[in-house]
């Protein structure tokens, strides 16, 4: 049976996902690299999937960092809805080719958002306590009104 630690590696996957975008954007902010387009594309795709309300796709490996209940719940706990929308908008702006004097400032905001998400993901990885399960009452109410 996986140990508690093994079953928490999905948080480590989320932390790694954040690390990739933080590192590559930091290099852009420091002027040592271009805008990390492929990393940003991956971020945009994952965030839009959460935004759609249905990030889990049957038949696809859950290696993506924002798929499982625990990962999505972590994001929902750290970012409120406007911040998710902000992150999607900022990431989209960074990917446009238009000249934008604010690109570095926007990159810093994205770094900040992902840094907070990463801190929570690493915290959850370290903690033996599992993410709170769904609210049974909410679940039953939702299904009875379906």
């Amino acid at each position: 049976m996986p140990t508690d630690l093994q079953s928490r590696t999905q948080y480590l996957a989320l932390a790694e996902f954040c690390q990739r975008i933080i590192s590559s954007l930091s290099e852009y902010v420091n002027g040592t690299a271009e805008v990390p387009a492929s990393d940003l594309q991956a971020v945009l795709k994952a965030l839009q999937s959460v935004q759609s309300g249905d990030p889990y796709k049957f038949g696809q490996r859950a290696a993506a960092a924002l798929v499982s209940y625990e990962q999505v719940r972590t994001l929902e706990e750290v970012w409120k809805l406007p911040q998710l929308d902000d992150a999607v908008k900022l990431t989209g702006d960074l990917l446009t080719n238009e000249d934008d004097d604010d690109k570095v400032a926007k990159a810093k905001k994205v770094i900040d958002l992902f840094s907070k998400l990463q801190a929570k993901a690493l915290w959850n990885f370290e903690q033996p306590k599992q993410t709170a399960p769904p609210d049974v009452g909410e679940l039953c109410r939702a299904l009875k009104t379906a």
Binding site: L5, T9, Q19, R61, V72, E76, P134
Partner: protein
């Protein structure tokens, strides 16, 4: 107060030491014990990974010490992620070093490896056995480390030498196959199954769920149940009814076959009643059931009883509350699971037929304490298929053990010590029969 630079060097040193000590531990055990090739390869990768991590950590500190780059939060987080990976790997090393060849039913591991390699796209797969302190078989795959050509199977340390109980590893292999199918996206039947899942979710659950996390949770339940039925049927296609029998024995051993709970779905598993109903359906369609349905055994009666349970009695219980709609949604997916299993596993009626023809002869061998590697037929000898030996041995175990013991002096079938000894011998004869079949196949391959 230490500078951020010094703190980082301190942390990097602790990561370096952790990696080095794991690396050394593995090397020491390699010198003491023999391991399967798959485990040996895993250990080689641990050594390679250790060298890579130590190099990467040392390079990070070198850059921060010898260039203008300064220590930042992201560098510290990078170290934390390295540490997280090695802390996770740390939990695999001891169970893998415990699983040396003296502690494993090697012929079964070899047979399972060969069978797994018949699955399309999986010809290079290797099985690494981990001996776990939990009384539970488990396929172990940490999400952040999917190793596509290596299957980690956890076997309870107490059951490692037990041949019959270890048949359950086939179910665990099914978990790996399911994940691999997700990765490869090459099976039409698998895509059809995913479509059936999406449809069941969209029609019955999706519109009602108010958040992305709840939607992921709900889909996770349907996926987990799908996987469990898939794994049962995958094991069944390779092993026949012996798998169902050993699953009954193991679930009973860990208290999961109580009458009050057999119709209950939990977060990870469908109800036992449904699992055995689907196994019975599969055995029937594959030609096995006709050969065992009249076996005078409680196992067969139990399967029949579970299969008769009414679907309306099935209930999904979560935190002591019955959750509606999920079970109905899931039942519409089940036919697609059968279709997938049939598409990716060998055609098993031939195995059922061999069992039907050879069962009595194999059982006669076992009744006389003879390893059933070769059977006399029409003045010549022939070797039954390993899967026939396994099933005949299990049927013998369920129905004829007292007959064997009665033939021997001072052996009482009610004496648990005596009975345990003869079950172990029966397992040893069966395992030897499989080993002989593997040697014969090997020598035939070698020409």
């Amino acid at each position: 107060m230490p500078s951020p630079q010094n703190s980082l060097i301190h942390e990097a040193t602790s990561v370096f030491r952790l990696v080095e000590s794991i690396d050394r531990y593995v090397a020491e055990h390699e010198n003491l014990f023999a391991y399967t090739d798959a485990t040996q390869d895993f250990f080689s990768d641990v050594h390679t990974g250790a060298a890579a991590t130590k190099g990467s950590v040392a390079e990070l500190i070198r850059k921060l010490s010898q260039t203008p780059e300064r220590a930042e939060l992201r560098h510290q987080r990078e170290l934390l992620i390295h540490k997280g990976h090695w802390r996770t790997l740390h939990t695999y090393i001891k169970p893998a070093t415990d699983a040396h060849t003296l502690n494993l039913p090697l012929p079964l591991i070899r047979m399972a490896t060969d069978d797994l390699r018949t699955t399309p796209g999986m010809s290079e797969i290797a099985i690494v056995v981990l001996l776990t302190p939990e009384l539970m078989f488990y396929h172990n795959m940490p999400q952040s480390h999917f190793d596509s050509e290596r299957v980690f199977v956890e076997v309870p340390y107490s059951q490692g030498p037990s041949f019959f109980a270890s048949l359950i590893i086939y179910h665990e292999l099914g978990h790996y196959v399911f994940e691999k199918l997700k990765m490869d996206q090459a099976s039409r039947a698998f895509v059809d199954l995913a479509d059936a899942q999406e449809q069941a979710f969209a029609q019955r659950l999706g519109p009602a769920l108010p958040s992305a996390s709840l939607s992921s949770w709900a889909k996770g339940r349907l996926d987990a149940w799908t996987k469990e039925i898939f794994c049962d049927l995958f094991a069944l296609r390779h092993l026949g009814p012996a798998f169902s029998f050993t699953l009954i024995d193991f679930l009973a051993l860990i208290g999961l076959m109580e009458e009050e709970t057999v119709s209950t779905f939990d977060q990870e598993h469908p109800a036992a009643a449904l699992r055995f109903r689907e196994q019975m359906t599969r055995l029937d369609k594959d030609g096995w059931w006709a050969h065992v349905s009249d076996l005078p055994s409680e196992h067969v009666e139990l399967m029949k009883r579970l299969a008769r349970k009414n679907e309306s009695d099935y209930i999904f219980e979560f935190q002591n509350t019955g959750i509606p709609v999920f079970v109905e949604a899931f039942l519409s997916i089940v036919p697609s699971i059968h279709a997938l299993v049939v598409a990716i596993t060998p055609h098993s009626p031939a195995a059922a037929e061999d069992f039907g023809r050879r069962r009595q002869e194999i059982e006669e061998c076992l009744l006389h304490g003879i390893v059933p590697s070769k059977l006399l037929a029409d003045g010549t000898t022939l070797s039954p298929k390993p899967v026939s030996m396994i099933n005949a041995a299990y049927c013998f175990y369920l129905t004829r053990l007292p007959e064997l013991m009665k033939k021997l002096e001072n052996q009482e079938d009610w004496n648990l010590e005596h009975r345990k000894n003869w079950v172990e011998r029966l397992e040893a004869w069966t395992m030897k029969g499989i080993e002989d079949a593997q040697l014969l196949a090997q020598s035939a391959d070698d020409g």
